[in-house]
Amino acid sequence: MPEVLEKKIKHAKGAESPELPKKESSLEEDMAEFDLMLEDSKTDLDEFVSSGLPMAEIIASEMEGEVDQETKTALAELNKQAELARQILADSLVGKIRLKSADLLKKYLPGSKLTSLAEEKNAEIVSKITAERLHEFLSVDLRVAGLDYKDADKALEYFEKHKDLLVGEDRKKLEIEVLEAVKIHEQRKAEALSEKTVEELRKFLEFDYLKHDYKDAEQAADYFEKHKDLLVGDDRENLEKEVLEAIRIRKLRESGLSTEKIVEELEELLKEDDGDCKQVAKAVDYFLKFKDQIADEKRQSIEERIFNALKYHLINVAGFYHDETEGLLENALTEYKNIPNEFLKDKDISGIGAHIYSKMTRGAVDSEKIMAAFDGNLDLLASGSKYQNSYDYFSSKDKIRIVEETYKKRGASEYIAKYTAEDFEDQDFEKVLKPLFESYKKHNNRAILSQMGIMKDMYDSMPLDERDQLNGSLIQYNSNEVFAKFDELNLSEFHKAYLIDRLMSDQNYKVLHSEDNLKKLGANKDEIFAKLLNYDAANLFANREAFKPSSEQNRLLLEKATSSPEKLEKTLSAMKSLSSSTELTEEELKIFKKIVKKDAPYLIHKFRTIFKEEFKEQEEFFKELPSGLFENGLEGFIRQAVNYPGGWEKNAERIKALVIEAGEHKVTNEYFEQLESSGLKLPNRVLGKIKENIKKTEQKNLFDYFKYALNKNATLEQVQREAQQGLEATTNNADYFKAVYPSVLKEILAAGRFKTQFETHSSNGTLNPRYRAEQENKMFNYVVDENKGETVRPNYGYMSDNENGIVGSFDENNVHSKVSRYGNIHVKFKKEQVADRTTVTFDDSLSPADENPPTPSIKPHFSSLGKRHDPRLIKQASKPQDWGANYLEAQFHWPLRTSLIESIHISEKNSMSKEVMLEVEEMVNEYNGKNANNIIKIVVY
């Protein structure tokens, strides 16, 4: 390349520099033109100035004190741009005038001093114009289409011709630029040539593949040898391999084909997984061509081997991950289409259909492509029983084709059930619909029910005895659907009675709760009532109006519906869910209440609307309570407390005391006071939110604390204080950690701080961080927009009282760390520096964030526990399994810098190889070498 360029440059250098264009004109004409130009230039400049381009400076000074800093900056910028524009215009005008002046001087006053002076100046201007022209060549395509430089040759030519006009830096700069451009352009041309050569060579290799035994392999090799210099990049290496492979196969053929050799070649073909079935298709071709030469005993197993590869390949390509890889399935189907029926005819490739269908529903491949690929084997498509809905993606015409072919080959099967009447319009009744119906009769009665609209004519024309037989079978398996299609079916009296029996045994009682339905079924109301009484008294009671029961029937029904508290609960539920119109008589209500008071007080609260119970004593108590309690949102809790099943009757006084105590929030108020003086260094907005969440959660969980205190005969204060003290002791005895992978540690040490996923997420990605941003907003008041405040969001870690930060089960030899999914290096932080800026939850904080709010680690609030965990079980931060959690989570606020790291803890016991441990040690030592004031200890445990 450089030689060629140098040649060109040398040649260009030899050429004469062109002279400036001469103009044959008179002095008068020249002067007139000159005057005109001067006039024009003045006008242009005047117009420019008077055009009132933003006199931003003036505006800015006039508005001083009235505009904000942002506006001022914008005005200043505008002013700068306007000034620049004016300067460029002025320069250009002056340039033109100078050039003209120099021309005129040279023409009319050759040899004068003035001429040589003007020419000197002129040279600069000419150089500038030349450089601009060159840039035009070089930059137009550069700007528009990337580094194409297709005009680079022209640029070089222009440069060579005009380079003598370039003065000073212009020449050197331009020369480099032009040569660079030519180089890139040449490179591109070479690549294109290489591509063409590869294409040519492939023709030798592919055209005669298999059928002609690579007879052109030698020619391909010749061609390769001759043209290999034209190949650039990977092309040369890849082609060489391909050619050598062709020669290898050619030689193999020449030496005669034994079974072993055929197998060897087939294996060669099959081992390539090119993702589009091409290799398998080649193997099929190869097999068909040479199968007669394969020893009999081996033929079948080889055929199976190829067939399995084909089957697996299609399934795989349509499988779990492949739907996202563009075109793979389509390409595979194109190749599949070319596989001769001769090979496929006796094969069972059912199962493929299911996978193909699943892709159709996701739009990874369209029905036309599938129809084309499976042409002649359409019955295989019916194999996807799991994906019946996929049939909807086929046109009616295609569906019929699949049906027809399926019948021809296999008879109808249960999987073809998703047709609509329109699909069968204009179709051959005898050929399509009748066989379908016959097959349904035989195999799948349910399909007839779902297709009654289509099948009715055939159903009606069936011989009576045959239809009766079918009806019996339909009822036996599909009572509910038969009832839904009752009007379309001709059921005998016998079968109507049978249908009622089946509806009962299938527990479809509700359809029998209607007078109209009973009439339709020709049922005896009293008989049905008697049966339902035994099977479904609860719903019958709620619906008894439909049966207009006699007083004796009603008595029996009441007895059944209330025979136990459980039965009563069912009855009450039925009444509630059916919005029953059944009115309870006073007598009935009394019976209900009696049962409830005696055995099931829990039902009072649940079915209060039905009982219309007046809780007089409780209402009295409400009146005694200070109104402030209700205003503070405690009304719900108080009602729950006073209605606590069985509570009021036994412990009214204790309940009253607990309710009043709940309104005082003694422990939490004291907690807030202590928090003020604890020296916490949390951002104010975070601390404010934490307090708000504590109040909310405490209120939300108050009933649970209440129940606990009531049952333990304790006060709320005792219960809460005990929890509070336990949690504080646990966190104060623990250290602060984070688990990271070696690759992450490397990044951290290089960046000087821990990053969060908010910093690495991509706004057009799919791992939407919105949920976490929302939770962080709920927990800490961090901004809900996930694209803001990325660098100041909390970092997540955990606490452990194990010196090496292990959490979970472990002994001397084994570590089953519950934080291992986050990394196998445990980073310990300087407790004295992070404790006051960290919050904790006693389980994962995200599930959901407002049920167990994070509170400061140096003073965790009992509400951080949420409802799930028992505070008495929380003793050691390293053993979260004791209280049923995964870890005691820590949320570090403010950027988490490497200067806060005290040590890193690594071990072979924690899934880390010796090599990786060494790498980590080196990494940390390197960091320590650069940060003498902040040495990170390495602890190997």
């Binding site: 992978y741 821990f754 799919t766 999914r821």
Partner: protein, 93 residues
């Protein structure tokens, strides 16, 4: 969601890939139920199924968007799965 919006995240040599059935839950109220497979691309091993939101919370996973990179990873993963997957597919039949 287009073909290349398969949610994949990268952290060093590790890859997270969301379970097909859970993809629609990402970023919603049900986000905590989203499970992902964590693969070590170096050792070609599946390290387990974890909750996506928890993993993202603790580490700066990089959200991949380049369709070519995603395609490449999907194909690699599929190869890792080859053995087990093939058996599973055959059984399904």
């Amino acid at each position: 969601m287009n073909k290349y919006d398969k949610p994949i995240a990268k952290l060093g040599k590790r890859i997270l890939i969301a379970k097909e059935s859970d993809i629609s839950k990402i970023g919603t109220e049900e986000a905590m139920e989203v499970l992902v497979e964590q693969w070590d691309m170096e050792t070609k091993k599946l390290e387990g199924e974890f909750k996506l939101e928890q993993l993202l919370k603790f580490n700066p996973w990089e959200d991949l968007t380049d369709p070519n990179e995603i395609k490449e990873i999907l194909i690699k993963l599929n190869k890792f799965k080859d053995g087990g997957e093939q058996n599973r597919e055959m059984k399904m039949r």
